[in-house]
């Protein structure tokens, strides 16, 4: 019984695949949404250029970390994060929100699976 439990724990700890990537997908979705919000407010003149620049850099840095933590980086969601990172810092909010919605769709489908 103890061996079985230990094995189950080890398997859980080393799990790969979409389930293990779910927290990172949610994080990437939020980061994309934050980026869109920052750019929207920057376009409206509601934030300082320094704030916009530093937030964009921080958000991209976090997205890079999320991509690096994926157990399946060549998956649909991995590609989505990579194309997000390829966007320019001042990308349009609509473009960024399209990625947000795509990641949200993937997140929801994995959660309901």
């Amino acid at each position: 019984m103890r061996c079985l439990l230990l094995t189950a724990l080890l398997v859980a700890a080393c799990s790969k695949g979409p389930d293990a990537d779910l927290p990172a997908i949610g994080e990437a979705r939020s980061l994309a949404a934050e980026w869109a919000l920052v750019n929207e407010q920057a376009a409206a003149g509601h934030v300082t250029p320094t704030y916009a620049r530093t937030m964009r850099a921080k958000l991209r840095e976090q997205l890079q970390t999320s991509l690096g933590s994926l157990t399946q980086p060549k998956s649909e969601y991995g590609n989505e994060v990579r194309s997000l990172l390829a966007a320019s810092g001042d990308a349009s909010p609509e473009q960024l929100r399209a990625h947000t919605r795509a990641l949200k769709r993937i997140e929801d489908s994995l959660e309901s699976a």
Binding site: R29, L31, G45, T48, R53
Partner: protein, 411 residues
């Protein structure tokens, strides 16, 4: 009771209530669960009011600092365990605050984050050296009132007030999946921990002794802990409610502490953003001072050293070395590159585990007629104290499993 002193005390409590942990968890809770966790803030605030009042009363009546009395009640061995656990949890909290300071200055100036962490630490340490206790508390507390911009921002975005008020009713949303329920539980525990951080009781109690409180100041103590903490809590609730209105529908987590400032930028533009960032800077700086001094108080009182910032630094030399050392240790943790959000999570996790060890001796002391005479806990303080002690124990037991099961609140 001097009305000016009382007003300043309340305003200081308001401005000093919110720290980096509450900023982060309020914004995330609002975004993920809407208004459903407002009651967790309200509930936790009643807890800190009860224990804060006890801590102030013990300082004013027994005229002994909390950690002196704690060692006397718990003895050396258990006292050392409590001391060590408390120092560790407060050190991590201090590191989170310093990291938060570095980040906020980075958003304001564009200068590198780690450099800003070093600069802000130096400025905070200089202020702790130069200013006597009363002015340290007042400067950071009163400047922290810039955070009121978040309350104004909530009003400006016209939230559904019926839903905001409905959030004060204890609830668990019915439509949650098992994972989301666990996440909800995790946020409830994290909010309890962030509001009832152990360092707040130590700092408040020692602060009362720094200001030479006596039985005549008991009304001041009661008013500060009730009115001040309630108003401070409403600020945190305003951040949560704005997040529910602005961030939730936009699918924003938020993952970056700087995103919270957008709550003021959206209705008020650049001026709102700048006031929000400056308010966050002062509130987090105040929390860095409190956590650092709470550790210095704890170790000095436990070993019977001279302590207090009402004395000049050279008149309490080991206390001075202690707060300098703790501040530098906290900075060292930040300089390892540890992520601020991770530090916040660990601060909250360690603190909830230490909370029962902190609050039980305090409650027993406040109820001990030998020390407190006629000012010992009466039925309300006893009732609230024991109720919250049980809740804190349950939360402490649930904290680590919930953290692991939800991957740190990610579900």
């Amino acid at each position: 009771m001097n009305p000016l002193e009382l007003t300043l005390g309340i305003m200081t409590a308001v401005g000093g209530f919110v720290d980096i942990s509450e900023l982060v968890f309020a914004a995330q809770a609002g975004s993920i669960f809407g208004y459903a966790l407002i009651w967790a803030f309200a509930f936790s605030t009643i807890g800190i009011m009860a224990f804060g009042e006890m801590a102030g009363r013990v300082a004013a009546v027994a005229n002994q600092p909390v950690f002196n009395l704690m060692r006397h009640r718990l003895g050396l061995k258990l006292g050392l365990v409590t001391l060590f656990a408390s120092l560790l949890s407060t050190l991590v909290t201090c590191a989170a605050e310093i990291g938060g300071l570095g980040l906020i200055l980075h958003y304001l100036t564009g200068a590198p984050y780690l450099l800003m962490s070093v600069v802000s630490t130096a400025v905070v340490m200089a202020s702790m050296w130069v200013l006597p206790f009363k002015w340290i508390e007042r400067v950071y507390g009163l400047l922290g009132l810039l955070m009121l911009v978040f309350a104004a921002a909530l009003v400006a975005i016209h939230p559904p007030w019926d839903k905001v008020l409905g959030g004060f009713v204890p609830q668990v949303p019915s439509s949650l999946s098992t994972k989301q329920l666990l996440q909800f539980g995790y946020f409830g525990v994290a909010i309890l921990s962030a509001v009832m951080f152990p360092y707040e009781a130590y700092f408040y109690s020692s602060g009362g002794m720094e200001e030479k409180w006596g039985p005549k100041d008991l009304l001041t103590n009661r008013v500060t802990t009730t009115v001040g903490f309630v108003l401070g809590s409403l600020l945190a609730i305003a951040i949560l409610a704005s997040s529910a209105q602005l961030f939730g529908p936009a699918l924003v987590g938020p993952e970056e502490p700087g995103t919270t400032a957008l709550e003021a930028a959206i209705p008020f533009g650049r001026a709102g953003l700048l006031i929000a960032l400056l308010g966050m800077l002062m509130a987090v700086a105040g929390a860095a001072v409190e956590t650092c001094m709470a550790n210095a108080y704890a170790i000095s009182q436990f070993f019977g050293w001279e302590w207090g910032r009402h004395k000049k630094p050279w008149d309490a030399p080991r206390f001075t070395i202690a707060w300098i050392a703790f501040m530098l240790l906290a900075l060292a943790i930040v300089l390892t590159g540890a992520d601020v959000m991770t530090l916040v999570e660990y601060a909250v996790l360690f603190s909830i585990i230490v909370l029962p060890l902190t609050y039980l001796p305090l409650m027993l002391l406040a109820g001990d007629k030998g020390y407190m005479g006629q000012y010992a806990n009466k039925w309300l303080a006893k009732g609230l104290g024991w109720t919250y002690f049980v809740i804190v124990c349950l939360a402490a037991a649930a904290a680590i499993p919930l953290y692991l099961l939800t991957s740190g609140g990610q579900a």
